[in-house]
Symmetry: C2
Subunit: 198 residues, 2 copies
DNA sequence: CGGTTCCTTGAGGATGATCAACGAGGGTGG
DNA sequence: CCACCCTCGTTGATCATCCTCAAGGAACCG
């Protein structure tokens, strides 16, 4: 799902560049713009008092992010940071909502996108709650492999560091590492030259 | 958000009664119908191998549930059970999607509803990950108090049993009880005749 | 080849789960 | 009205799991 770029420009969108590591908006900020990535990658995350981070989602080329608050007058539930040099197109909330009103097809895809998001978050919650580090990690691996549209039977090179897996599952790096070696002895994952295959 | 009942009937919806404790659909079932509660209450939940339960959501009079899979051809991510004798209106997926196409206003409210759901699940995940039983419970209490539209400064009688709080937070009953007494000594909650106020 | 980022291992400790037992309250039928 | 039952709440002891802290190794890149 992405809104046609020309359409966005027609309605007054502007382009903004973000360096790697730059914050796009903070948790608690008012939601005033619709953002869509033209190039690069954006991570949405929460961090607690202890500095521990939880990744809510990662968005890449073509994807929009931070839309839900625009519809319900809420502040952002998480912080958005650019994880590599990125080019982002942004347009005001008012114009964004107007576009949805004018183009039913766009509204429809947004609805489908949100359905996917709700679904994905339900699945994620299920795995996180299922209090076993093993299941949390297997659940995460299964989810991203599917999201990358990899056939289940093929070997998938997991494109995340141990730390990133930790941030997605709510575990610590060390736990992730220890669980992965256990999963390796069980034949559920492969570790080749420190790379993780699932 | 609810779809007008007369509209649903016009399009061929039917009514079904569920006794307390009856399953409406199971995790993994194909999503073939849109369901909306006329009277009663429905809980959506997951349970793991050990029988531990996680509550994904509770829906009451007027609310629809289990919609997201209808949009994305997925099976249900959780089981729906009637938690009291309930009257539910149901209509086939095809007709439901047709209604959304025909009535932009309905589609629009559905979009807003999903935005709320995504938002709520983001907040919930944030609290659950924030690995401290205290924060999980405080987060849950804050969320439901707000959802019940209670002014923050007023004392709120929490309408959940300890077990239910446990199922929402992914903790055990005993932990919930112990944390609540700690929160009581800290003055963050009140316990009067075993009733919980926040 | 030096620096940075990522991975790994060990020891020790804290937190929440588990298991078991019992108390409190509310409703129902005799 | 009381006895019983059923659900919910409570407490203690013990255990497993994951976190924390600390140190060092491996891979990669300019």
């Amino acid at each position: 799902m992405q809104i046609d770029i020309d359409l966005l420009f027609t309605w007054g969108a502007i382009v903004k560049n973000y360096k790697k590591g730059e914050i796009i908006f903070n948790e608690g900020d008012c939601a005033l713009y619709y953002y869509q990535i033209m190039q690069g990658s954006v991570k949405m995350f929460n961090s607690n008092d202890a500095g521990k981070e939880f990744t809510q989602g990662i968005f890449t080329d073509g994807r929009g992010f931070g839309e839900p608050p625009l519809f319900i007058d809420e502040v952002y539930p998480a912080t958005a940071i650019s994880t590599e040099d990125s080019v982002v197109i942004k347009i005001s909330k008012e114009k964004f909502l107007k576009i949805l009103d004018e183009y039913p097809q766009v509204q429809k895809s947004m609805l489908r996108l949100f359905a996917k998001r709700v679904y994905a978050k339900s699945i994620a919650a299920k795995f996180i709650i299922n209090n076993s580090s093993e299941n949390r990690i297997l659940g995460f691996l299964t989810t991203i492999k599917k999201k990358d549209q990899f056939p289940e039977e093929e070997l998938y090179l997991v494109p995340f560091t141990r730390q990133e897996i930790a941030n997605h599952t709510g575990l610590t790096v060390e736990t992730v590492i220890r669980v992965l070696s256990k999963l390796k002895t069980q034949g559920k994952v492969k570790l080749i030259k420190h790379k993780l295959y699932f």
